[in-house]
Amino acid sequence: MNAILILANLTFREAIRRRIVLAGLALGISFLVIYSIGLHFILIDMRQEFTLRDLPARQNFMNVEMQNFFMMAGLYAITFLSIAMAALLGADTLAGEINSGTIQTIVSKPIRRADVILGKWLGFAGLLGLYLLFMAGGVVSSMLIQSGYVADNLLNGLGLIYLETLLIMTITLMCSASFPALATGGIVFGMYGLAFIGGWIEQIGAIFQNPTAVKVGIFTSLLIPSEALWRRAAYEMQTPLAGVLGMSPFAATSVPSLLMVIYAILYLVVALILSIRIFQRRDL
């Protein structure tokens, strides 16, 4: 078996055996349960309200808007959970193994150091993919079963959310190759926070038509394009009206261009290459 696959498999098993995934799943399932119960009561309420006051055509229109809103809220929450999972998985991986010396018997085998990074990356990517699939599957099917609603461009949206998770994981891996675990966690959450604030400045700037604020937002997206990926994902899945109204944390008013998506992919590739380079030069 190829060294990358052996190490990907090891990474995968480690996450499961060390119960990080279990913790993530426990949190995720709690979220899905609460979300589904909440959604259940909101939908009942909503139907009664609309039936009492409005015409059938308008009722349907409002229904879709509300369902989309709750769908996006759910997906936003699981994006955050997936990102937290990506950061937690990645922060300790290299830093911890370098610190404990576990890495020494691995690296002194007939493998390349790049194999170690690529193996870990692949293992985490698989794990995060499954996690996202499970969580998004939960939100989407909860909505589908309870209301019959499916968002437009769902797969595009989920793909972008996955890309965002992978981006955060790769940045974490890169930091973990140079810094201790705790510092890595701090840096990654700090960057995520920066992107979040930057995204909001851009949104507000777009609503009030302030080009400087929009530029600040774009600049932070260039520093770390994670939030931009979420907004692109939201744009793909949201109803046209939500995009125009905009004043919801789960909607995108200032829509990142496709160029930004390509930029994010390049960013990820560069971060991965840098992780390899840093790890290759590091004394273990």
């Binding site: 055996r17 018997t105 690296v107 002194s108 007939p110 493998i111 004394d283």
Partner: protein
């Protein structure tokens, strides 16, 4: 077979403004058990890590089994037990060995039989499906040793292999070293336990401040002068002079006789002589000039600090 197992030329590592290894030049032949001795901080572990490609040298060259450092073909014929061994503790002993065997590109059936053989050899056969998390320090050291032997290496690095082990475990390591040596494996042994080195190694290098200050053939030790202590009771003082035909510096202090002999070969004759005299003989103990004596003489009492 003429290539050296290890060959280094002025290998040097500088951390900041401190040279951890100043210029390591040494040769280890194939099939040789080579001891690497030195006080704490002399650069022993750094040297091993450079040879294994874990740390990149600041300057100098080295080759293992005739290949430059980091060569993957050479690495597949090398075994390594690190000093502060920490392994994937969420794996079972068998899973752990499987992982390392796979990374060594071993074939599945060979790996399976080799793994069972080694677990048996290091006394962990009953623990093969237990998680490493539940292992004691000594058991981890044993499974680490099995890991280092998986690929029937031509060269094996053991960095303080007996540090966590009880006397039984130490003997195991010693026996394993003898076995692999008999199979032609070169062993690079870094240890603080001089008595271990003394009984297992063919040659030792003394390291101080990251330089080889002395290389010693250990076979020499056994022919060196030996001080002999004899414990007797009611031994007639006049019989003492009879011992001078086998040695010198004969002294008697109560029940203890001390003398210096040239070789262990005279021991049977001395024993025969003693028992034919009046008085009782309780012990005859040769104390060779130990490696410890040489160590302190070479690196200094301050430990090279």
């Amino acid at each position: 077979m003429s290539v050296a197992a290890i060959e280094t030329e002025q290998l040097r590592k500088v951390f900041g403004d401190r040279a951890a290894v100043k210029g390591l030049t040494l040769q280890v032949a194939q099939g040789e058990v080579f001891g690497f001795l030195g006080p704490n901080g002399a650069g022993k572990t750094t040297s091993i890590k450079m040879l294994l490609g874990l740390i990149s040298p600041s300057s100098g060259t080295a080759s293992l089994l005739g290949k430059p450092i980091g060569d993957r073909d050479a690495m597949s014929r090398i075994g390594f037990l690190p000093e502060h061994f920490r392994f994937q503790e969420w794996l079972t002993a068998r899973e752990f060995l499987t992982l390392h065997g796979q990374l060594l590109r071993m074939k599945a059936d060979d790996l399976a039989s080799r793994m069972d053989e080694l677990l048996e050899r290091v006394g962990l056969a009953d623990y093969r499906n237990k998680l490493l998390r539940t292992f004691s320090k000594g058991m981890l050291q044993r499974v680490g040793l099995a890991q280092a032997l998986l690929n029937r290496p031509a060269l094996i690095f053991l960095d303080e292999p007996t540090s966590g082990l009880d006397p039984v475990g130490r003997r195991l390591v010693r026996d394993v070293i003898r076995e692999v040596r008999a199979q032609g494996t070169a062993v690079f042994l870094n240890s603080h336990l001089l008595s271990e080195i003394e009984v297992t190694c063919d040659r030792v290098a003394f390291i101080r401040h990251g330089e080889v200050v002395r290389v010693l053939e250990l076979a020499v030790l056994s022919t060196d002068e030996t001080s002999l202590s004899i414990r007797v009771s009611n031994f007639p003082a006049e019989a003492l002079s009879g011992l001078s035909q086998w040695g010198k510096d004969i002294q008697m202090d109560g029940e203890h006789i001390r003398m210096v002999i040239q070789s262990d070969a005279v021991l049977p004759e001395i024993t025969r002589y003693l028992v034919t005299q009046k008085g009782e003989v309780y012990a005859i103990t040769p104390n060779r000039m130990s490696l410890e004596d040489i160590f302190i003489e070479t690196v200094g009492k301050d430990g090279g600090l």
